[in-house]
Symmetry: C2
Subunit: 463 residues, 2 copies
């Protein structure tokens, strides 16, 4: 194959052709493709390119484009919606060797990282200089900073510090034609549409992110942690709303339904209650003021204080999740589905999605929490598990749970994805989200930038 | 002309053909086109369409497109960079009859307005329900909510409440093909690139915004006002940085150079000093805490307290600006130029741009203030005035001042526009801002959505 020879000439040791390399980079952490792998049915790419510079990556894109070969951009593979999945004719372009700090400016509070830098490595590096990124997704140990941007990620501190789009200062990317785009490094611009936003959430379909510059904040003093439990989700939602609307912004605001509260905080609250946990931090005096105000608001809304050990417990365990394969081996198929809506419909959305998923045969659990709050609403993050009698049913049960949840969410007028993205799993509902005109815009942009549809085909944009 | 007959059939009284109507809507508030008008050289459009519904506006776009006639979308015409300027073969599409509140949801804190609603009318309307938009551009009395979005506007409270992109919840727009796009009303989404961002700052080149839904906040209690003066801009910038970096976010943070300080606050500070003014507001207790912290930080940075009457004076006069024509009649040509950069280069940028403009022959004043602060930097807002001996020199002097400022700003690595936009005046420098690849993306998006280049041709995107 001519392409392989040319890539080998270009990339040398940065072209991986062995089975192990192709196997370990063929997919992300989508349950369906992990299931395929568990079943021994994973499709492998032709090759894995691991360029070690932006220019090398750009040349890789140009070669693949010249040969008309599909490219699958890949960060660290922690995405869970099928945004990375090789076809047998594709080349995976992994950013793993675009790694590490490029520069850090302590005056402006900026740090530039190769897009393949792992999240936890980036956070640990800026802490050496007294900063934090303020972005802590549950995946921080297994995700890359480029992946954060490509999937439009949210972190656990988003309610105060924003989501990744609020933290990215500038970006470098290789576009589908092989040109290198570098956004202007400026704190804010009115210079046409913000082109960074085309890459945020593009899921590899509009280019490969090669470098991300993040706006940092000083590492704050240890904050105030507190927790309250409520009669039900509706009461808890109303309490959280009463905190957010007047302008309080605790970095961590999480409200769990009764089942999840028992799962996470069994020793810290009575059965049947819904736990809300808060972390307050900020400039001197702020955490104490906000903490006292939030305590008063939660108690006015019917909340009973829990011991703050509940929050400590959450912090200790917040990154721990089982693998899908561990669940498959226990006869379980499971996933998470996050959506978002305005305050007024949040409790209705909670009930509707729980009921819809619970009605799918063999489902044994459907639960939720909210973890990201905004002036006008919040997200809901559902988890489901089903126990089909036969592994052959795993995929149909999985699909049925997603369909039930998406239908209930769109019926409520909710947004179909808060922060995991579209990938393959939500693609059938993107038209519900964006409308025909919105999908038309997205398709037009895609065709204009990638007329051959070589950059991550099959992801995000409906056919 | 067949188009006029068809538009008359479609629009009835919503088609304006008289001279006065065409004259008053042929331009925005760009000094160069106001100069042309003063000279009696203003070019008029064929007609002014003032559709009274989204559907009527969409049909207007379809008719103009069918006839290949350029369309000039127009809000209230307060833009100052030449984003609205009719050609003799064009139809101005004004949003002025898409006006008023469509709905207000007090639970979610949302209000939807027709895009032609004047800013001050929208703000006054939501105040009736106890809310504020939190967006107060100097133009609030003469600008529309659709114009805020199309130009990616900033308001005087942006440091706490964000710019228009942070306040817009959802948008409806007529695209260049006449289809109607409605963004999903959700507090946050990871569902591909954020398509609202293509309209924010699009300056009428990618569609006509017809309705804007804004996320409101409760009207706060009266806040704390205070002011400090500093030895020079560098000292003042360092003080503001010391406030912002640890996380304080006063809604109003403004630092004026010595000349502007005398212009605005003559009775409140000694000659040669640079005034910084602050407004603190927020949930109960916040303004007092932040005010005390900021007072300490400013004094640590060498600031001397001024009487808070200085801030009161600013609030009373903040929307007052002379018209360009008043200045032309005094023999003056003037304009404002806002740019932005990181903290570390802000004082250098200040000096470089002031020196560059001052070196232009006949310039009599070049001054600046900063008025929008971010974690990693801030804007600078320059004002210049020149007094050429002959009105025939006005345009060349004006152009020379802009060239000098843009060259100095790009040499410093600054962003060329903080919030006024590109329009016609900054178009020659957009490639410096976005790079060749960025301009290529913008052109590709434009061609994909408006292949005939009928929607506000000549604006934003370099030829």
């Amino acid at each position: 194959m001519a392409l392989i020879d040319e890539l080998a000439n270009l990339l040398g040791d940065n072209l991986l052709l062995d089975d192990e390399a192709r196997h370990s980079r063929a997919r992300d952490t989508w349950p369906r493709s992990e299931f395929d792998q568990w079943q021994g049915q994973l499709v492998l790419p032709v090759a894995v390119a691991v360029p070690s510079s932006t220019e090398q990556l750009a040349a890789t894109v140009q070669l693949c484009r010249f040969h008309g070969v599909p490219m699958i951009p890949r960060g660290a593979g922690s995405g869970c919606v099928g945004g990375v999945l090789a076809s047998s004719d594709s080349v995976v372009i992994s950013t793993e060797r675009l790694s590490g700090l490029r520069w850090l400016d302590p005056t402006d509070g900026l740090a530039a990282f190769g897009s393949g830098t792992m999240g936890i490595a980036a956070e640990n590096r800026v802490r050496e200089d007294g900063f934090t990124i303020g972005h802590w997704p549950q995946s921080i140990e297994v995700s890359s900073v480029g992946g954060w941007m490509a999937t439009r990620a949210s972190g656990q501190y988003s309610t105060a510090y924003g989501n990744i789009e609020d933290i990215v200062y500038s970006v470098e990317a290789v576009l589908p034609d092989g040109s290198i785009y570098q956004s202007r490094p400026t704190p804010r611009a009115s210079a046409g549409p913000d082109l960074r936003e085309l890459l945020l959430g593009s899921e590899g379909t509009l280019g490969v992110i090669t470098e991300v510059t993040l706006s940092l904040r000083p590492l704050p003093e240890p904050g105030v942690r507190q927790a309250f439990h409520f009669d039900n989700m509706g009461a808890g939602i109303e309490a959280v709303r009463s905190v957010i609307v007047p302008g309080w912004r605790p970095p961590v605001v999480r409200l769990y339904d009764a089942v999840e509260s028992r799962r996470h905080f069994r020793n810290h609250l009575p059965k049947g209650r819904c736990m809300a946990i808060f972390l307050h931090e900020g400039p001197p005096g702020h955490a104490a003021l906000e903490g006292a105000a939030v305590a008063e608001l939660c108690q006015e809304a019917g909340g009973e204080p829990a011991d703050s050990g509940a929050v400590d417990h959450w912090f200790e365990h917040r990154n721990a999740v089982p693998t899908w394969t561990e669940l498959f081996e226990q006869g379980l198929v499971a996933d998470t589905i996050e959506v978002a809506t305005g305050w007024g419909r949040l409790d209705q959305l909670y009930t509707a999605v729980i009921e819809a998923i619970s009605a799918v045969p063999t489902v044994i659990a459907a639960t939720a929490h909210t973890s990201h709050a905004y002036q006008s609403g919040a997200n809901l993050y559902f988890t489901f598990a089903a126990q089909p009698s036969d592994p052959d049913q795993y995929q149909s049960v999985y699909d049925a749970c997603w369909s039930a949840a998406m239908q209930a969410a769109t019926d409520c007028g909710a947004g179909i994805s808060h922060h995991h993205g579209i990938g393959r799993v939500r693609r059938p509902w993107l038209t519900d989200e964006l409308g025909n005109a919105g999908v038309g815009v997205l398709r037009a942009v895609k065709s204009a930038l990638d007329p051959q549809n070589l950059m991550n085909p099959g992801v995000l944009i409906p056919d």
